[in-house]
Structures are given as structure tokens and as C-alpha cells.
Symmetry: D2
Subunit: 326 residues, 4 copies
Amino acid sequence: MNNFGRIFRLSIFGESHGKGVGITIDGCPAGIPLTEEDLMQDLGRRKSGARGTTPRIEKDLPAILSGTFEGKTTGAPIIILFRNKNTQSKDYSNLLDSPRPGHADFVAQHKFGKNNDYTGGGHFSGRITLGIVAAGVVAKKILGDVSIDAKLTEIGGRTDFDAAIEEALLEHDSIGGIVECKANNLPIGYGEPFFDSVESMISHLIFAIPATKGIEFGSGFEAAKMKGSEHNDNFIDETGKTETNHAGGINGGITNGNELVFRVAIKPTSSIGKTQNTMNFAKGKVEELLIEGRHDACIALRIPVIIEAAAAIALADLKLIDQARR
Amino acid sequence: MNNFGRIFRLSIFGESHGKGVGITIDGCPAGIPLTEEDLMQDLGRRKSGARGTTPRIEKDLPAILSGTFEGKTTGAPIIILFRNKNTQSKDYSNLLDSPRPGHADFVAQHKFGKNNDYTGGGHFSGRITLGIVAAGVVAKKILGDVSIDAKLTEIGGRTDFDAAIEEALLEHDSIGGIVECKANNLPIGYGEPFFDSVESMISHLIFAIPATKGIEFGSGFEAAKMKGSEHNDNFIDETGKTETNHAGGINGGITNGNELVFRVAIKPTSSIGKTQNTMNFAKGKVEELLIEGRHDACIALRIPVIIEAAAAIALADLKLIDQARR
Amino acid sequence: MNNFGRIFRLSIFGESHGKGVGITIDGCPAGIPLTEEDLMQDLGRRKSGARGTTPRIEKDLPAILSGTFEGKTTGAPIIILFRNKNTQSKDYSNLLDSPRPGHADFVAQHKFGKNNDYTGGGHFSGRITLGIVAAGVVAKKILGDVSIDAKLTEIGGRTDFDAAIEEALLEHDSIGGIVECKANNLPIGYGEPFFDSVESMISHLIFAIPATKGIEFGSGFEAAKMKGSEHNDNFIDETGKTETNHAGGINGGITNGNELVFRVAIKPTSSIGKTQNTMNFAKGKVEELLIEGRHDACIALRIPVIIEAAAAIALADLKLIDQARR
Amino acid sequence: MNNFGRIFRLSIFGESHGKGVGITIDGCPAGIPLTEEDLMQDLGRRKSGARGTTPRIEKDLPAILSGTFEGKTTGAPIIILFRNKNTQSKDYSNLLDSPRPGHADFVAQHKFGKNNDYTGGGHFSGRITLGIVAAGVVAKKILGDVSIDAKLTEIGGRTDFDAAIEEALLEHDSIGGIVECKANNLPIGYGEPFFDSVESMISHLIFAIPATKGIEFGSGFEAAKMKGSEHNDNFIDETGKTETNHAGGINGGITNGNELVFRVAIKPTSSIGKTQNTMNFAKGKVEELLIEGRHDACIALRIPVIIEAAAAIALADLKLIDQARR
């Protein structure tokens, strides 16, 4: 479903080749300064243009259509719309018969039938994450002093990013990567177990982002190899600071005041410039497929700001929920 | 919060040392055969008693108090209660001053104050997962022919489980592990992007289970090292079966008819028989702490059935949601 | 569905002739004194025994099974269970063929099939409102100084209640009534338009109570006959107090600090001691039906405390939501 | 909060004097024909222009920005935007000190502070119901053969509408009215007790509509005066048709296949052309207030189509929920 959250609530909409994409943000406290200008920095970080991303530059201009008055939030829903430009382009109808490997073409047609908007990925397009980034900016404002910082730490299994990208470009291929996200200055007490643990809320949002394949908090998959005596984080001061941070800043689903840390695995972009095999379901036989156009060789380059936004959104909602019962 | 789901909805309650734990399951279709007897097999798999689990045997007898009539579900809410036995035991009040490393003692007290039930972990106890296992049985019935199977594939980083367990027991320590879960015979089309992708729903539930540190679907963290040409799964027949299954049975957040696969990292049990350091917050200094009693050296041994249940619950809800719009 | 609320959330369950009925209350702040004893006064007001109610006395003993510790709420879900007694009694299976006029027998069988628990109304029984009354007590505690008071103002169209009841008893018939509910000392600002206006939240709960047929706030249906110049409530002091109170304490879906007033129409009990006509659906013809047993001649006598509870529940949730965004 | 529904879900936004108002509709099945043209008939019924409504004509042109493809719904969220025109007009800032009687000015300022958009009612404006009407059109399509028909049955307590309107216009005053809504051809079985009875869902939406003061189903407030033997509706044929319809087509919160009937009380428009008294909160004294501009003498004239929409929305969601569990 296309909504998320209990107090700070999102409702997302749009298609890559339709009139636009956007998001409605409800439950935002009144009085927070918010203009389109505030959104530009994070939106800029999501933009293409850098080496390894698609040279197709999209102008992602947000328009805040409601929920602010004289530059501040009013407490009413905030809708942010990104109108699409120049989308009438090419014919995608061949995707109906020959779905692209790694994409949602095949399942979308099964689930929604012939009415699925298959052009440019439709509602499944990564373009829809523009709204997430915008909502993330609002969420960060709600969180106040909390700082959230995500960055790419590994690309194609390597840490020398440039070489990895050049290799992929040369081969008309794509590569995956790992994004690490850290949040500091979080108060103790955000998180609503049993079901709405911090990890549950963040992972729910992270796996809504196309191309994510895994998430781990703190020690993550390494924890499976450790002993309890190594893994337990000993308290070292009266604020609850711990010697190690295998917990990744969370105990029992609740922030413990230490740094929140998680890592996300991003798969290589499904659209590649190499010829692939796919089933032509109309003809009932496997055919070669060459996806034309310009793609992101490494979509992971554009994802850190989206992951920051997801973390901020989850934490902002948990902050407001926590506040409700104080 | 303690509820989850849109149509197939859970409401969980209880404490380890209170009167009992349990779950209310709402939104279940009418006419499904269901008795306490049906729950025993999965509950048995969660039980302690095996080498490496606590020798403290709990009798986990479920009582279905509502929602069935003449052995079948009625469509009304099903409440399943597990009464606790012999819980008056020892004094836990020292945890207020000296929270156990790795546990929720510290954060719970910050969030809920002196009123937090600290005895035996209270509402944070792993005992609360009994309800999840029971709900999992109902969910599996809703899913019909779908088979879900989770098992421990790695323990303390090794695959020779017995040796790993004996070593931990000898050292009065604990170890983590990895659980892999597979679901077969799933129809194409379950999953409700943007926010309620299959991965989002499953991971939300998985991270509600105490001790989980990471989750990955299909290729998971390996995907970050791969190229698109390797990662993309080529269709090989007219049912949508693919040559490889890096997608783990999901594209665009929707089941694609191939095997659903995910893996979960479980941390070593926080309660260990070794002396640890912890802050005595009343005295303001670090002290040694020895947690008495009998613990699970490897809680991961008892978790596979809980993970199966989580997967079944997420998929059952997605099945009913999908059905709503057909 | 059997859950309600955003922060202060209820999950209701049970059947009149099953093992019991009850409610789970989630989202309650920690630290509120709560014992079974606290529930007895309001439960007593719902009890039968008075002239005009069924002489069948039910012992409605609540058991709080979770969510409190040393007599105070912990912030974890509170489950309150009322076990049923002496319910094996009579055979209700004739209701499958011959549904009782005014009851849910007919629709329940259509919706849930043969699996519907038809004994004593099953999940449709008025007995399920015990949980609402219990949750109402908790809600009133959350509301602090707010006082809520509902009473029967009219019975069978009359204000001399005794005569109306005696007449109904003499005729083996039943009668309806009107309950008026007032809440005082409410702060300005509860209510979350657009959808969760105070009236929306209260009426949602009121129409869940069996036998309710109408609700009006402030001037209510009279407003339809009035002119704006008569209806508008003029402010008379700096606290926002108004000269008249046609608004019933609510403007734009939000409490305005004046007395909250609403009235609820209760239909006459459907079970009467007179012979009625009903369709025997098995035989395909109309037959006479005489419902045996002892019934409430005027169920409206027992409903005021349930209506108070509904108002308190809606307002408590709105209070916590409002607090989340302050 | 500004969202509603479980499967068929609405998210509403906008302000009367901002950039626009609108609605996002999620959970709509794929394949339903839908264009802007389809919305025009119902939007036309909400329009002003008739005698007794404001002579200020608004062009309410909807733009469907997402969720349709080649004229049919895709299963993705549908957003419908109504851009505002010519709204820069006058200065409303006096409302901050001198709130209008009967309006939300006073409570909005208390709840949201100085950041509330007070221009033209802001998010509290009746203009926001445009989205409800649009969503109602979609809901009616989901309901298929069901016909829903609302009309004004009483105005200012009279049935000779023209005279009532002329009198109000002459006096520069406003008048209320009663709208009756009937739905036919509903299947048996829609409605989800305990909490989501048909009446609960409809009344929740009805009381979100500005100016509604009461609602009654079937016999409604008359039921309070009746005896059970009069009120019970006897079944007369094998489809469940009843002799009378005091139930208003609903038993136990579930549609029973008979005509659904409810009535809604509408208060007189709060904005009138007569001088009123109001508190100037800045000066701390009562002053005379004359609201300039052109108003609806009888807003009830424009409300029937909004009430139809509310009924359709509630029923469409209940239909989809019912379908989920079949």
C-alpha cells in the first residue's frame, strides 16, 4: 500500500512517465519553516549526472501545494508535487510481451493486468523516491538536533570507486554497492516494540526503495559468528554510553543513545547496456533483449540520500509516537 | 506498537513473569479448521530442552478463548492465551540499578520509567514470541499449498553445530547463528508496493523478534558485489521461472512465482554465564555482574519456527489484501 | 474490524457463549494506577438486575492479565478478560433456519457461513461491550480532570420512566430510549480534521454499540430548522466560552472548551416475549417465532455507561494524538 | 487525521486559498474506466450558482495526475488535484483577533498556533470536500450495480424549499436542512463489526463534512419511542426482504439486502450577512462583526452529492474488505 506511518504519515503517488510523482505528508507539527528551497539540497544529492549515473538529467523541481503558510507548516497535510517533463518519448509496449529481467514488468502485469502503466516502470520507477527524499527533509526538521548521514562504503565489492565504475561503464554493465547510514544525537527511548521496533520501521521503509537486497544493524551478519561475551556492549558512563556498539544504537527495538548504525545492500541496476535473454511470453520462446537508452551504471551512487530520508521518516514518526504518551 | 497487519491483523500482549502472554488474530477468514492441537507442532519446535537451549522447560499450553466454533474459525477475532506458570521466583529489582548488557533493561526504564515490568524481561521477553508462532500456524492455513521452511544454516560462523554448541557451553558463553527461510508454491502477485513490498512486510516482522540483527533476500549482501549481467535472473519458461534466483522470488516488491528466499542473522544470547561489566547507575560506577539462572547458549536454535511464522503472517496478510482488489 | 484507534488502541474479542469476552488496550501511557477494583464501578452500572433489565444476573469479573505492574500501567498492552459462566445452556441451532427479527442472525450467516457462532449472538452479543466499559475506565484516567456523564433522558418517548417500563413488561414487549452524554473540562484543541473530527471518532464508536440508531451533537437535528443568526454561538469571554452551545462544544471537528454534548437514540431490544413472524429459510415459509428466556425490556437502561466509555475512548485517543504534535 | 479507509484509502489535502485542494485514492482495483470527464456530473451537483447558494462561481476542474493509464485505473494511487483560482483577494488577518462565530477560526488558532492558514477557512474550508466528491465517483464505480441517491428533504424545517430560501435571503440570514440518502441493490454482508459497522464507517465520514450535526439510520431517533414488536422488521421472503425497514438496511452493523437509509442534519451556514457579536481576543471585549462577501444561504443545497460520496466511499471499502476474506 502507498501509505506509511502512524502520526507522521506519508501517502506516495505517481508514475515515471505520467504527469508527475509526489508525496503527501500528514501529521507534521505546525510551525516548522519549510519552502521548496529547503528541499533542493537533498534532492540535488539524488540527482543523476555524476560519472556512473545516467547522463539523462531530470529537472526535479518540487512544488509545495498545501500545508504551509507564510513559509511555515500549518499542521495540515503537505503535498509536494514533481511534474514530469518530456516523457512522451518512446514506445514501451514491447515490455508487455518481453518483460525485462530484474524489473517489475512481469509481476506488475500479473498483478494489475493490462492496465498496468508499463511506461518507464510506471509506479515502480525509482523516480517515485523523489517524494521520499522530500519527506526526509521534513522528517529531519522534526528530529531537530539529530544528524543523519549515509554514504556509499563499497561498490562492486571494492572501495576504489572510480575504477569500479569505469570497468562497469566499459562493459556496458552495472554494479551494486553498500550504503552505511549513521544517526547521532538521538535521545534514548524512540521505538515502539513489540512490532514497531526502530529496526522494523527503518527496514520497512528501506525495502520499499527499489534495488535494496539486505539490511543489517550494528554488528549485523557478523553477530551470527560472535559470542555473547564479545557481542554485549558494556556500559561505560552514566549516560548509557557503551564501550562497543554492536547493538548499533538499539536495544529491545528502542534507541539507547549511542550512534544508530545500519548498512544496506544495493543490487546492480537491472537495466544494462548488454544483450540479455528474456522470455517473449507472446511467442512462448526465449529471445535476446537489448535495453536501449541511458542508465545508471551504479544506482547505489544516488541512493544514500534516500536511505537517510527513510531513516529520518521512521525516526520522526517514532519520536511523535513517543511524545504522545509522555 | 503492539499490532500489525491490514486485513490479517495481530495484537500481541503479555509479560514473561506476569499472568501470561498471547495474541489476538483478527481478519481471519471463516471456516478454517483450528484447534489447540493444531498449534502444538510448531510450538514444540520453539521449545527449549535441546542441547544448547535452556534446560528450564516451559509448558507452553495454548488456550483458544474466542473466534472458533465447533473446531473452525468463525471470522471473529481469535485470541490465544498462554498462561505463565511458576513465575514468582526471584528478585529482579537489582536490574533497575544495574541493567544487563545487551538487554532492554536500560532503555525500557528510560522510556517507561519505574513502571516498566522488569521481571524476566517483562514485555520484552522472548516468551512473547509464542503468540507469533501460534499466529503463524493460522497464517500457514490461510496460505494453503504454500510451504514455508526455515532452518539454521550456520552457528557461531560454523556449520558443525554440535561442536560450536559444546564450546559455548564449556565457556559459559553464547553464540549466534544464521537462519534461512524458503517459501515455495507462492502465486505470482503477492506484495503491495510502494510501502508494503514483500520484503518490507517480512522484515518489519523479523526485526520485531528479539535478537535479529540483519536480513537479506535472495542474493542479499552478495548483490552489492555483483554486476547486473550476473545478477539479473533470465526467464526460462512461460510460467516465469528463472534460470537463477538472485531476486529471491521477488521483483518490485511482488512475488514472482519462484522460490522466496531470505536469511536472518541472530545475535548470541545476551544472557551469559560469564561475569560481565555493567554500570551501576545508582552508584555511578562500573561493577561486575553475574547473571544467574539457566540460559539459551544459542537462542538461534529456537528461532527458525518463529521466522517461518513471521513470513507466513506477512504473506497471509498480503494474500488477503491482493484478494480484496481482484 | 475489531480494532480501533491510532495511539490509544483497542482490540476486542469474544463471544457471549464461548470462553469469555475481553479487550486489549494498547498505547496507554505508563504509570497510571489500574487494578480490577477500579473497573467495578462502571461495570456495575452496565449490569442487569434493575427493573426493566433481564433478571438473569451475570457475574462480570474482569481479570487484568497483562500491562500492569505493582498496580500501575507499564506502557505495554493491557488485556482484560471476562470469563463466561454457565453458558452451556440451551440449543440455538433453530436460529440457523429461523433468524430472529432485528438481530444479526441472518446477516452473520450470510457473511460468515455455517461457521458463525450463533449461540447467544456470538460475537454480535451485547456482552462484548464489557470490554468497552473497561477500556472506558482507562480512557477516563488518561483524560484526567475531564468529567463525562451520560444518562437516560427519555424512554419510549416519555420521561416518566417507571410507567414506561411497567407497560412494556406487562405487554412482554420492549422499549427504546435516548441517552444524553456531556463532557466537561475538556481543553480546547482535541480533534484531528479532516477525517478524525471529534464527532467522527465518537460516532464511529457509538455505532459499534448494538442497538444505536442515531446520534446528534449540540443542536443536532434541531439545527436543520434553525437560522444562522440563531444557531451561531457568540463568544462571551476570553476563554472562548459562548453564550449558547449549539455547537455542542465542537467547532470544525475540534473541541472548543465549552461543554461537549451529544445524544444517542437506542432502539427497543430486539428480543421480546411476544410471538413474532419470521421466515423459516429452510422450509421457505413464514412461521411464528417465540423467543424464550429472559430479556432486557429496555436495553437503554444499561447503555449510558457504555456511551460514556465510547466518548472517553475517542477523546483519550485524540488527546494523545494532539500531544504527539505539540 | 487526513486519511481514511483500510483497503480503499483516501488521503485529503489542500486549502481554500492556497494552490489547490485534492485527494489521493489508494487501493482502487485496476481496470476501472476513469477520466476527468467522469467526475464532472457529481462535481456539478456540488457547484454553487443556484438560488440560495453563493453567486461566487468556482471553476472546479479536476486533474487526474496519476493512477490511470489509457483511461483506466492501474491499481496505483490516483491523485486528483483541483487548482484554486483568483484567491489572492482580501485580507483575513482580522480573524486572528476576532474569530467568526460558528467557524473553526478560534479552535484552529488554539490547536495550530499562528501558523494556521486562516485565509478563507484554510484546510477547514468546505472547498476540501471537492476531493470527497471525486473519490465518491470512483467508489460508486467499485460498487457496480449499487445505486446511491441523496436528496434534500427539508429546509429550515419546511418542505417548500423556495419560500424558505427567499426568506433567508431577504433577512441576510442562512438556514439548515435535512438530507436523506438511500442505497439500493446492496449485497448482503458488507460491514465489519465490532468497530467497522456500516453505520460506524458512514458516520465517521459524514461527520468529517463541515456543517453536519446529526445522523440517523432507518427508524433513527423515532426508534427511541417505539416498542420492539413495532420496530422489528419481519422477513417476508427468501431473499431476506423485510415487511418494514426500521433497520434501514443494516443488522448487526452488516447490510441485510434491504434499502440502506440514513438522514443527516445540516446546520445553517455559519457565515451570514447579518451583524453578529464576537469577542475581539486582542482587545478582550465583545465587538460587532459583519462578515463581508457572498455566502451560501443554505449550504445544505450543495451537500447531497457529498453525502452520497461519503456513503459510497464507506461501502466501497467495506466491499473490498469483505472480498479479502471470501
